[in-house]
């Protein structure tokens, strides 16, 4: 009788311990449904499931010049504008690439700006297999989120278990941790190659 009671107690304790262990070690829901990362470096073509992306250039500017409905607009920001130029292609079927995120060194996520309205060179980018096209991603970021940042590119914003390209950015920084070159103004409508 006595040993059975002790035995039952032991089983109870073991069960509680096991359940607690399982609870605390359970992967987070956000991790279970997270996109599948595909890593890469700047200037390399990073192959995700449905598309490929190559990060060609990052330009920082204090203001963006753009024309909307025939009117020129100068957009300012409390941080810096980061204009990321990429080359995009599709893997095996025509696809769209719609989501770009700037991830700071500590993991803060800056989604692409919503202040520019519709533009042909802005997401969503329609991409075709065998063809490369230039696509821009534009972000507003504080200056201290530039060193050690990562560009995240995915087909859609909420795409659980779909591939997400993660490209490490190596922007050249000055001694103060700020980007070495910040343009006072960047003209989005200037022909590519000249800023």
């Amino acid at each position: 009788m006595r040993t059975r009671a002790i035995g039952n107690l032991l089983i109870l304790v073991a069960t509680v311990a096991l359940s607690y262990g399982m609870q605390v070690s359970k992967p987070h829901y956000a991790d279970l449904t997270a996109p599948i990362p595909v890593g890469g470096a700047m200037h390399d073509m990073v192959r995700a499931r449905s598309f490929g992306v190559r990060l060609d250039k990052v330009v920082f500017a204090r203001a963006l010049k753009t024309s909307q409905f025939g009117r020129t607009k100068l957009l300012t920001t409390s941080g810096l504008w980061a204009v990321v130029t990429t080359s995009l292609t599709a893997t095996s079927a025509s696809a769209t690439v719609a989501d770009g995120t700037w991830q700071g060194p500590a993991g803060l996520r800056y989604r692409q700006t919503e202040r520019l309205g519709y533009r042909q060179d802005m997401p969503p980018h329609a991409v075709d297999p065998g063809l490369e096209r230039r696509g821009l991603f534009v972000f507003e970021v504080p200056a201290d989120q530039i060193g050690g940042a990562t560009l995240l590119v995915a087909a859609r914003q909420f795409a659980p278990l779909d591939a997400q390209a993660r490209i490490s950015l190596d922007a050249s920084l000055g001694d103060d941790g700020q980007p070495a070159e910040v343009l006072p103004q960047y003209d989005l409508d200037a022909p590519p190659g000249k800023t």
């Binding site: 359970k26 987070h28 829901y29 956000a30 607009k73 957009l75 300012t76 920001t77 409390s78 941080g79 700071g104 993991g107 803060l108 996520r109 800056y110 989604r111 700006t113 919503e114 202040r115 507003e140 970021v141 504080p142 989120q145």
Partner: protein, 192 residues
Amino acid sequence: MFETARSRVQTWITAGAGSIAALFVAGLMGAFGALPAHAPPQLPLDVAVDAGRWRIKPIRAYVSHADVHGVPLKPGQKALVLEADLTNRTAQSDKAYFNVFRPEGLAVPEGPPMIALTRDSTLTPELHPGMTERMAYVWPLAGDAKIPAAIGFVVTAEIFKPRDNLYGAPGWFNPYRLGTVTLPVADVGTGS
């Protein structure tokens, strides 16, 4: 005989324990609920206040009789405008700032106000982590609405749960009334 009596008592206690505990908790909750509720505090105007996902600092409130920050008004309407500095305290870009402020004691339309970035009149853009931006909350009002000299704005905040109760996903839940900010309301005529 003795054996059965004892086991019967045991059964009663075991079966009744849950009910007794429930009664006890319910009584306790009722007692606490009957206590006078704390009035939500007045929030200071000169410092930024943490309100859930947002750090807020109201700047000024005024009544506009013309389109303001790109928000169109119907003819005969005026608008109550609250300008506030908002900082995203979370780790990602977000635009869940629609219910942060709500004027008290005024007949404003149901539903969220129009909200514009004062920088360039972009309507409801996402705000990014740690980047303070001045936003204008615009509530359209009937042209003949009486406006008091000072208006209290109810500030609503949410709490962060690393795991919600349904999916175990992180998120912001349980909006609650953090307090009230009271600002004098200027009438700026037709300009803004």
